[in-house]
């Protein structure tokens, strides 16, 4: 069965303290790995799509990478406004999208 698992569930960092969020997946015939950011009371906001192992994408302090088994979202020198829940999702060859339960990130000033 297709599955996406994110770790840790919650992460608290000091402002400026870099770290990584993990997304492990078992998705048949992965055709895309998505990262979203979700703020409280809001819908998920699209960040990146990765299509193949070895691919990397960057946006401001965020960099997403993909291997054949997992994806990482690296956050460099985070700021309090980066606090949110980060969701990853895998898109399978059977045209199914499977979301993980997210990592709740808190950045302390």
């Amino acid at each position: 069965e297709d599955q996406v698992t994110q770790s840790p569930e919650a992460l608290r960092l000091q402002e400026g303290e870099s770290s990584s969020l993990n997304c492990s997946y078992t998705v048949s015939g992965l055709r895309g790995l998505f990262w979203y950011r979700q703020d409280p009371g809001k819908g998920p906001e699209f960040l990146f799509t990765l299509y193949s192992a070895g691919e990397e994408k960057e946006k401001e302090r965020l960099k997403a990478t993909l291997t054949k088994k997992e994806s990482f979202l690296h956050i460099t020198a985070p700021k309090p406004e980066d606090s949110a829940t980060y969701l990853c999702a895998g898109y399978s060859s059977a045209s199914k999208i499977i979301f993980g339960s997210g990592t709740r990130l808190s950045i302390r000033p």
Binding site: G32, F34, K42, G43, P44, T49, I97, F99, S101
Partner: protein
């Protein structure tokens, strides 16, 4: 400009009632979705429509009935509401039918059943 908008934002109602949630997108997308996000934050797809045609119908009680009057609108009607229906329901849209194009989400409808 709101890209994907849902109404209402909050819905509090009694068990057994019937209610509807509306969704509209102005992105020109041809595919729309309904998701349910439970208390553990898992987003699970319920339905998807492409150009008004139902293309995904996951294992959802038949009390839930989606309707797409045109490709910019997707509504969700729920009959005989139960306590377990309490959740946040998100509408989303994308382009290219069922594809690996990113989905754009509304801000959700928080449904609470008393």
């Amino acid at each position: 400009d709101t890209a994907v908008s849902q109404t209402p934002k909050y819905l509090v109602t009694q068990m057994g009632n019937d209610k509807s949630i509306k969704c509209e997108q102005n992105l020109g997308h041809d595919t729309m979705y309904w998701y349910k996000q439970d208390s553990k934050k898992f987003l699970k797809i319920m339905f998807s429509y492409n150009n008004k045609e139902l293309i995904i119908n996951e294992t959802v009680p038949n009390r839930f009935s989606p309707k797409s009057p045109d490709k910019a609108h997707l509504n969700l009607h729920i009959n005989s509401l139960e306590l377990g229906d309490s959740a946040v329901y998100f509408c989303a849209s994308s382009t290219g039918g069922l594809s690996n194009q990113p989905q754009h989400f509304g801000d959700g409808t928080r449904l609470s059943i008393l």
